[in-house]
């Protein structure tokens, strides 16, 4: 049976970057601690807040790579 939607999905190694936020956020034991604190904010809180911009930054190279991929295909 042919997998209709699969063609052209083009998952590439760079998409593995998207797994990093899952690894960081689901390993709760790692960040469920108070120290080191940052300007009085416990590690638990600032570590997770830090991952908001980190998660967005990780999407950026994937976005660029997909665009290059698309342009290459159209030419």
């Amino acid at each position: 049976m042919k997998n209709n939607g699969q063609k052209g999905a083009r998952l590439r190694p760079i998409h593995l970057l998207l797994l990093l936020p899952f690894a960081a956020m689901l390993w709760v034991s790692f960040y469920n601690r108070a120290e080191p604190s940052l300007i009085g904010i416990p590690f638990f809180y600032w570590f997770q807040l830090l991952w908001i911009p980190l998660g967005a930054l990780l999407l950026w190279p994937v976005y660029r790579a997909e665009d290059r991929d698309n342009n290459g295909r159209q030419q």
Binding site: M1, N3, N4, G5, Q6, K7, G8, A9, H15, L18, L19, P21, F22, M25, L26, W27, V28, S29, N32, R33, A34, S37, I39, G40, I41, P42, F44, Y45, Q48, L49, W51, I52, P53, G55, A56, L58, L59, W60, V62, Y63, E66
Partner: protein, 505 residues
């Protein structure tokens, strides 16, 4: 009554009302077509979509309920942050495909896609009904957010809520999705101003963040650590974040936000820029701890509020205590307008589902496009009246319990919708049975907890693992869907897929 705050509040509310009606003329389209009324003509670019999805996903109820959970239960409430971090890789990877196929085939709802992909009316109906039932209590909860701030302003009775909702219903009816898209801009400006002021002013007045966290106490500040025999609060936290992230974009209102954008790249870009809201949400969550540190619960002025609204009163009380009157008006208007945007989009999304997947599919298959749009407009009114009835006539706890169940239910459409974007190997009848197993098992887990919690402990090899019921029931659903697909496909491998591989690119 707080006259200054009330005046500012009413002025801001009046301003967005005017905007809501003016929106009908914005990027003018023929509002007698469902894609125009219900999807804004699929013309929203990156910036409008950013505001629209931001207003849609980060709702007033979130602004009240997340800090309320931090206030009452502590660190657990912060799961909203990892939840919104995990949402965006999923949005980025999967949903541009949905946009493309919807654009190629003219799909307005997720159920439209399932109908086209699997050629099965029953499965599409299951997806549509799940969406409608999961969204109704969500709309009702938006009213809770509005009700709390109206009460905090000192306005007695429910008439104010009726007025606010009548206004909302009227401009949603005339302007469709364009109204919340426009109002979302105002809502965001107000929310950001409020949040920035709050995180700068309040901790300073409370003597800094260190002092604030110290007053929260050790048990609330962190999760109870996992042990070898019980993963405890930590696995509850992780599964809540993951399950909520998987469920979010399956909700009809999120789907509407995605499908109204003008290209798949708008969605990809938004996955990169939407996290700005998550940061605001993280700071808003901390308002719950600020409320503890400020001692609002011991202030006799707020005793009535806490009695009626419970911990949901924590943030309004904090603002009343810490901000000057005029700024209280701004902050409360931000919450109330923050309720209008998602309530409008949710009612439009449910109306789209009803019209496309129930009315046109089962009641009037030959209806004209203008009639379709008219039915959707009326359906959006009915949905809002239903939500209002919910809040006014029934105890508030019903809406909260149903919304909790809604999350468990909506995630059961994941195999058909999300996996369906990548493969048609899954058999529609297998998906339907998997869906039913997921709904039944998830509901049973919640029922065993008296619908008060959604964390159900499973024991595997002697280790107790508390798990979000949506996630464990989804796993059952997936197992049933895959195993039965293998069996059904062996018996009969015919497919009625109207989509092509290139439709997804």
């Amino acid at each position: 009554m707080n006259t200054v705050a009330l005046t500012v509040f009413v002025l801001l509310f009046g301003f967005v009302t005017v905007l809501g009606f003016v929106a009908a003329r914005w990027r003018r389209g023929d509002l007698t077509q469902l894609t125009e009324w219900g999807l804004g003509g699929r013309r929203f670019g990156t910036i409008v979509t950013w505001f629209l999805l931001g207003g849609d996903l980060y709702t007033a109820y979130t602004f009240i309920a997340v800090p309320a959970l931090m206030f009452g239960a502590g660190a657990t409430g912060f799961f909203a942050v990892p939840y919104t971090i995990l949402v965006y890789p999923i949005l980025f990877l999967c949903y541009p495909r949905l946009w493309s196929v919807a654009h190629a085939k003219g799909y307005v709802t997720a159920a439209d896609f399932v109908r086209g992909r699997f050629g099965n009316r029953m499965l599409a109906l299951a997806v549509a009904i799940t969406g409608i039932v999961a969204t109704m209590p969500y709309i009702a909860l938006q009213l809770v957010g509005m009700e709390v701030v109206i009460a905090a302003l000192g306005v007695q009775g429910e008439w104010a809520l009726f007025v606010a909702f009548a206004v909302l219903a009227a401009y949603t009816y005339t302007s469709g999705l364009r109204a919340p898209a426009m109002i979302a801009v105002v809502k965001d400006v107000l929310i950001y101003v409020t949040v920035i002021a709050a995180v700068i002013i309040i901790p300073t007045e409370l003597g800094g963040y260190a002092k604030m966290f110290a007053s929260v106490g050790d048990t609330k500040m962190l999760l109870a650590p996992a042990t070898h025999t019980n993963w405890g609060a930590e696995s509850a936290y992780a599964t809540l974040a993951l399950g909520s992230a998987l469920a979010l974009f399956l909700y009809p209102h999120a789907m509407t936000g995605i499908l109204s954008s003008s290209s798949r790249h708008v969605i990809r870009r938004n996955a990169v820029v939407l996290p700005a809201y998550s940061f605001a949400l993280g700071l808003i969550a901390l308002l719950g701890f600020m409320a503890i540190a400020a001692g609002v619960k011991d202030n006799p002025a707020f005793a009535d509020g806490f009695k009626t609204y419970g911990n949901n009163f924590a943030v309004p009380a904090l603002f009343l205590q810490m901000f000057p009157s005029w700024f209280v008006g701004v902050a409360f208007a931000a919450v109330a307008i923050g309720a209008l945007v998602p309530a409008a989009i949710m009612s439009i999304a449910t109306a789209n589902l009803f019209t496309r997947n129930i009315y046109r599919e089962y009641i009037a298959p030959d209806c004209e496009p203008a009639r379709e749009s008219q039915v959707a407009k009326i359906a959006s009114l009915v949905v809002k009246v239903g939500a209002l009835f919910f809040i006014v006539a029934l105890p508030q706890s019903y809406a909260i319990q149903l919304q909790l169940l809604g999350g468990i239910w909506i995630i059961q459409t994941l195999p058909a919708v999300l996996l369906g974007l990548y493969t048609r190997w899954l058999n529609p009848w297998a998906l339907l049975i998997g869906w039913a197993v997921g709904i039944a098992s998830g509901t049973a887990m919640a029922a065993s907890l008296n619908f008060a919690k959604s964390i159900y402990a499973v024991t595997i090899f002697g280790v107790t693992i508390p798990c979000y019921a949506a996630l464990s029931s989804l796993i059952l659903n997936l197992i049933v869907s895959v195993v039965l697909s293998a069996i059904f496909n062996a018996l009969n491998s015919e497919r009625a897929d109207e989509t092509l591989a290139e439709d997804y690119l």
